[in-house]
């Protein structure tokens, strides 16, 4: 690894210090606005969770649990997508991202929060409702089903809990440490912190990829424990990366709207963020279609029942909506260069993709409510909306507070001059 010399780094720091764009006001979020927005979102979140709880008692516990899992799955994927992208940026030595990486780190550092929101639901279904949502948690379910018996080493409470603990430790450690390297560099100006972040990313990336896939098996694939798909992990990552890019684009559109980051995050940066949003949208479509196609083609009953549930009958419309809304419309909309370079238009695309990211989880999780003649009516959709508002309110309330808690970019990153003059030549 080539090392940046101390003199060169000092020169870079001096140049950054004299840059008029790096004024205190321009690189910190407006405190009053972020505080108000954060409180409003947290209030909305608390209200949404209360309404979900009411729905759980008033309508159906399983419905409320599934709705809550939809929302938690969406934010967990977003934060893990951010964590993986942060590590990718470190590993490929990305220069242009130095002005925007702090927000990826903020988003990634909420992965423990998203997982913590999942834990009460897991505990509830393990010990109180006993397999209402995850049918294999029902006492005796594994002993009576030959398919589940073969999977018993994986589906048992001890190993399940150990895996959960491992995910929690790993994601918390990586996301907090990677953000801490960056914020510590703001204070100390130690150029070796960038190298330590690279080293941590090198072992953290494969582990995060594997744990994300296994968490996908544990909490989403196991809703129907007979089902299996080897593309599951990468499918969830692709969706999470789309959601993460959508949140990041909206964050910077918001910061530009309140007059921050002037000259720091320009149309050139929006162009590249938009490219990543577009690229992960295409990647999601590629993976989603490949998963569907292989299941359709090989025609194995343990796999096809899952797809049939979601592409025929009651959920056919949602499946088509996902194909059109999560791929065809954004593919056409985000393709032109001019769209990605206009803050308002790319933010519109990002808001749409965030909505479609939630719909993706609706499509994955919600059909479990329709098994065995058990079918909720559209009149109970308010529980779904309340759960999404509740979880997103809490998650993004904390995110906005975190965005407002410090500088909006890595102030002393060795790559900052490169990012500040970043231009797309094509």
């Amino acid at each position: 690894m080539t090392q940046m010399t101390a003199e060169r780094y000092q020169k870079i720091l001096a140049r950054i210090a004299h840059d008029p764009r790096m004024s205190e006001e321009n690189v910190s979020a407006p405190a009053a606005t972020t505080a108000t927005l954060s409180r409003a979102l947290l209030g909305l979140g608390a209200a949404g969770l209360v309404v979900t709880l009411v729905g759980g008692f008033a309508i159906d516990a399983k419905h409320a649990m599934a709705s809550y899992l939809v929302a938690v799955g969406a934010v967990l994927a977003i934060s893990l997508g951010a964590l993986i992208l942060v590590m990718c940026f470190h590993l490929v030595n990305a220069g242009w991202v130095a002005t925007t990486r702090r927000q990826f780190e903020n988003l990634a550092s909420l992965a423990p929060v998203a997982l913590a929101m999942l834990v009460p639901l897991l505990l509830l279904d393990m010990f109180v409702t006993k397999g209402t949502l995850w049918s294999w948690l029902e006492p005796g379910a594994i002993d009576t089903d030959p398919i589940l018996q073969a999977k018993a080493p994986f589906f048992n409470l001890v190993f399940f809990t150990l895996r959960l603990a491992f995910y929690a430790v790993l994601w918390t450690f990586l996301s907090i440490r990677l953000r801490a390297f960056s914020t510590e560099q703001d204070r100390t100006g130690d150029r070796f912190l960038s190298n330590r972040a690279k080293f941590m990313s090198a072992w953290g990336l494969p582990l995060t990829a594997l744990t994300m896939a296994f968490a996908g098996f544990d909490y989403f694939m196991s809703l129907e424990p007979e089902f299996f798909s080897t593309m599951w992990g990468v499918y969830l990552f692709a969706g999470g990366a789309v959601g993460c890019m959508a949140v990041i684009v909206l964050t910077f559109a918001g910061l530009r709207f309140v007059g921050r980051m002037n000259g720091i995050v320009t149309e050139e940066h929006f162009h590249d963020l938009g490219k990543l949003l577009f690229a992960f949208t295409c990647f999601w479509a590629y993976i989603a279609f490949s998963q569907y196609f292989l299941i359709w083609y090989s025609n194995i009953p343990e796999e096809t029942f899952w797809m049939l549930e979601r592409t025929t009958g009651q959920w056919k419309g949602t499946g088509i909506f996902l194909a059109v809304g999560h791929f065809i419309i954004p593919f056409m909309f985000l393709m032109p260069r001019a769209v990605k370079r206009r803050t308002g238009l790319v933010a519109l695309g990002a808001a749409w993709m965030l909505f479609m990211h939630i719909m993706d989880y609706v499509w994955i999780v919600r059909p479990v409510l329709h098994q065995g003649g058990h079918a909720p009516t559209p009149a109970t959709w308010w529980v779904d909306i309340a759960a999404v508002l509740g979880v997103f309110g809490i998650f993004f309330g904390l995110y906005v507070a975190r965005v407002g808690s410090g500088p909006l970019l890595a102030l002393k990153d060795p790559k900052l001059p490169e990012a500040l003059k970043h231009v797309n030549y094509v």
């Binding site: 279609f289 359709w296 260069r337």
Partner: protein, 198 residues
């Protein structure tokens, strides 16, 4: 680029200017000796409103596209036509073959199922886009061509060494052999030559 370059049997349009020996004038070329001189000359050419002109340099110059006032190419929109042609070809061909002309039961799947078409739709979409972008790019650049009038100029050989050349074509609306040569000398050219059409 005139059509006559591709179709030699079409008579080229009559030259607007001829040399003393009666050869049609292709344009003028002006030599610049350093990068900064060529860069600023390009800015002045842009501001003077010339349209059919070019700058030749031994190496890429950063930011020259701004100094020359390049507009973005229309190529992407033309390539989109190639993409749609490829997609339509793939859909039509596969559907006609597997649902109309020669229906064959494969693994009990329905005739004309859309799923296996998707890969070919993607491949042909990419293939036709690639062909469209390559060949339309060549056509927009006036390529291929056997020779170029500048190749007959000994002085122009230095463009592969250490000299820069601003070249104005005679079919530029504001071209005039004397006035343009004078303008090029004014903006710092070290030598200006008339280029005859070959």
């Amino acid at each position: 680029m005139p059509v006559s370059d591709y179709l030699p049997f079409i008579r080229p349009p009559k030259a607007r200017f001829v040399t003393e020996r009666g050869e049609p004038v292709w344009g003028v070329m002006a030599q610049f000796d350093d990068t900064a001189g060529a860069f600023h000359a390009a800015e002045k050419m842009r501001d003077a409103g010339f349209r059919r002109w070019d700058l030749h340099a031994p190496f890429p110059i950063h930011g020259i596209e701004g100094a020359m006032g390049f507009k973005r190419t229309i190529l992407p929109f033309l390539v989109l036509g190639g993409t749609f042609t490829g997609v339509a070809t793939a859909v039509g061909m596969q559907w006609w073959i597997s649902a109309i002309d020669y229906p064959l039961v494969v693994q009990g799947k329905p005739f004309g199922a859309w799923e296996p078409f998707t890969m070919i739709i993607f491949e042909l979409g990419v293939l036709f886009s690639a062909f469209a972008s390559l060949f339309i790019m060549l056509a927009l650049n006036g390529l291929p061509r056997w020779n170029h009038p500048l190749m007959r100029k000994d002085r122009f050989l230095a463009v592969t060494d250490d000299k820069f050349f601003v070249v104005v074509q005679a079919n530029d609306p504001s071209f005039n052999p004397e006035q343009t040569s004078r303008f090029l000398r004014d903006i710092g050219a070290s030598a200006v030559e008339l280029v005859e059409d070959a």
